[in-house]
């Protein structure tokens, strides 16, 4: 293991995050506050409880997931796309590092940032609503696992993208809609029966549902299944990353 290389990449990426700290932190905190004002206070006050959880509290896990997914994907994709775009990737390719080390460095840094943002939202939410966390251990588990999985996913997007548009199209066109339709703001059981079935094909449903279970002990789908699905998706991403480095896909000529 080239531990020095992992540390160098991780630090480099965290320094990049640090340079844009204000916008990295300010924007999710601001948007979360807006969500709470609009959905929590204005609309939520007219809504009954969902699954016997106050609506304002009900949307917290979904909001965190929304940020976690978009931030992990865009962060990790940008992290690996940037050296490809600027040409500094030559150094990574000529260094005595294995794909595992590169991935730990880049994905680790992207996931770290996402987890920090997730926790920030959790803290911000406290100013608006009361909530409790029933299974804190599982909550942390879902948080980290999701951050890592979608950072891996973002890494793949970053390698695949050959322009800035492509870099943005996936988070915008796929991740955000899937998250909105994934039960961030409602329970799947509130949908018509047919849509409930269709929703089960949306992987984000499992994430949000499992995460919400760790807060309130209620869920749309079994929490174990949620965890298993996330783990499965992570393994698929790992497999793709391994293949990318083995073949040099879009990294080498």
């Amino acid at each position: 293991m080239n531990l020095y290389a992992i540390r160098a990449i991780y630090r480099f990426e965290m320094a990049r995050t640090g340079r844009t700290l204000m916008q990295s932190i300010a924007s999710p905190v601001l948007s979360t506050s807006l969500y709470f004002i609009v959905f929590g206070a204005a609309i939520g006050s007219r809504m009954g409880d969902v699954d016997s959880v106050n609506y304002g509290a009900f949307i917290i896990p979904g909001l965190i997931m929304l940020t976690l997914l978009t931030e992990s994907t865009s962060n990790a994709s940008f992290g690996i796309y940037l050296p490809k775009w600027s040409g500094t990737i030559y150094e990574l390719l000529s260094a005595p590092v294995s794909w595992i080390e590169v991935v730990i460095g880049y994905v680790g840094a992207a996931a770290t940032k996402s987890v920090i943002l997730g926790l920030l939202i959790l803290i911000t939410a406290r100013f608006f609503v009361d909530y409790h966390i029933e299974h804190p251990f599982w909550m942390a588990g879902f948080l980290v696992l999701t951050a890592v999985t979608f950072s891996l996913f973002g890494f793949i997007i970053g390698v695949w993208a050959d322009g800035f548009e492509k870099l943005q199209v996936i988070p915008l066109m796929i991740v955000t809609p899937l998250t909105f339709l994934g039960g961030s703001f409602y329970s799947i059981s509130m949908l018509p029966p047919l849509w409930q079935k269709i929703a089960l094909f949306n992987p984000v449903v499992y994430l949000v549902s499992g995460f919400r279970w760790s807060f309130y002990g209620v869920s749309d789908v079994n929490a174990g299944l949620s965890f298993g699905m996330t783990l499965g998706f992570m393994l698929v991403c790992l497999g793709i990353v391994w293949w990318i480095f083995r073949t040099g896909y879009r990294l080498k000529n």
């Binding site: 020095y4 630090r11 340079r19 040409g87 390719l93 005595p96």
Partner: protein, 308 residues
């Protein structure tokens, strides 16, 4: 002593179907400065890219210090430093951070004293806290050299290190390269300034259209392929070369004022003495004479032209 880099049967065909390298066989000796020359698009950067792990080879093998660059990439790459042709740097990083990053990436523990020395040697120390984007092109090139040296490579590839570098800095760079060689570093460089290769290199390889058309010790190359010319400035212009001199390889300048005699530097007898005797027999007087030797540049141009 075994070669430090051993290239055998190396070929590269890009995805576009273009064959950039054909069956390259080349051994680089430990501690030498090897200059790789060739016109634009000859395949120099491709060859370097393969050895350094940036380009996947289509055929053949490369050993760096005995380690296969594909199977044993960790061992081989940790020996190699690369300064690529393209200027590509992390705009927002400081000089200090980017050089230390390189050292870490190559698996070496932090060594601020060494990094300081490298930055001082490259006249970058004053700029250590500057963001790279605020540096000039020549400074950025030196940052890339500092990055390559940060992990103490025993093999250094310099792909056109002096492109866009001013005269004084070029001298500095030559001194740096010589200093590295004295410390046992093997250096492979490409350049379009032939006088640079003439000045620096121990051996020269010429690549043209993806083929290595010549590898030769520099002095030997110049002796073997070099030509000397003797130019005679005539007292009275001639309209044509007199018949009595037809057995000499002579040329007459357009204005008829100069006779040019070309001869082989390796020949036992240059024939100059006999030629001069013959001239006086023929009653041809001259007021001045000078001789010139072909430079590496002349040799290079004629080589590449015959290969075209």
């Amino acid at each position: 002593m075994p070669a430090i880099i051993s290239i055998a049967g190396l070929g590269k065909t890009y995805k576009s179907g273009f064959t950039a390298l054909k069956n390259i066989n080349l051994d680089i000796q430990r501690g030498e400065i090897f200059a790789l020359l060739g016109p634009n698009g000859a395949g120099k950067t491709t060859l370097i890219g393969i050895v350094c792990g940036i380009v996947n080879p289509s055929a053949g093998t490369v050993l760096a210090d005995g380690h296969d660059i594909v199977k044993d990439y960790r061992a081989s790459r940790s020996k190699i430093g690369l300064v690529p042709q393209e200027l590509s740097t992390d705009a927002f990083e400081t000089v200090w951070a980017t050089v230390n990053f390189s050292r870490g990436l190559f698996g070496k523990p932090a060594d601020p004293a060494l990094v300081e020395k490298i930055l001082r040697d490259l006249s970058l120390w004053e700029k250590r806290d500057a963001k790279i984007m605020t540096l000039s092109g020549g400074m950025k090139r030196r940052v890339m050299i500092a990055k390559a040296l940060s992990h103490e490579p025993s093999i250094l590839f310099l792909d056109e290190p002096t492109a866009g570098v001013d005269v004084e800095l070029r001298r500095d760079m030559w001194n740096l390269v010589r200093g590295l060689r004295e410390n046992g570093v093997t250096i492979i460089l490409t350049t379009h300034y032939i006088e640079e290769a003439e000045e620096m290199a121990d051996r020269i390889g010429v690549i043209s259209k993806g083929e290595l058309i010549l590898v030769e010790e520099k002095h030997q190359l110049m002796r073997k392929l070099g030509k000397k010319q003797l130019t005679l400035q005539l007292q009275n212009p001639l309209t044509q070369i007199p018949a009595g001199l037809s057995d000499y390889a002579l040329e007459l300048s357009a204005d008829g004022n100069e006779l040019i005699y070309t001869f082989d530097t390796q020949a036992e007898q240059t024939g100059i003495a006999a030629l001069l005797r013959r001239l006086s027999e023929q009653g041809i007087d001259f007021k001045d004479l000078h001789s010139s030797e072909s430079s590496l540049e002349d040799i290079f141009v004629s080589l590449v032209r015959t290969n075209a």
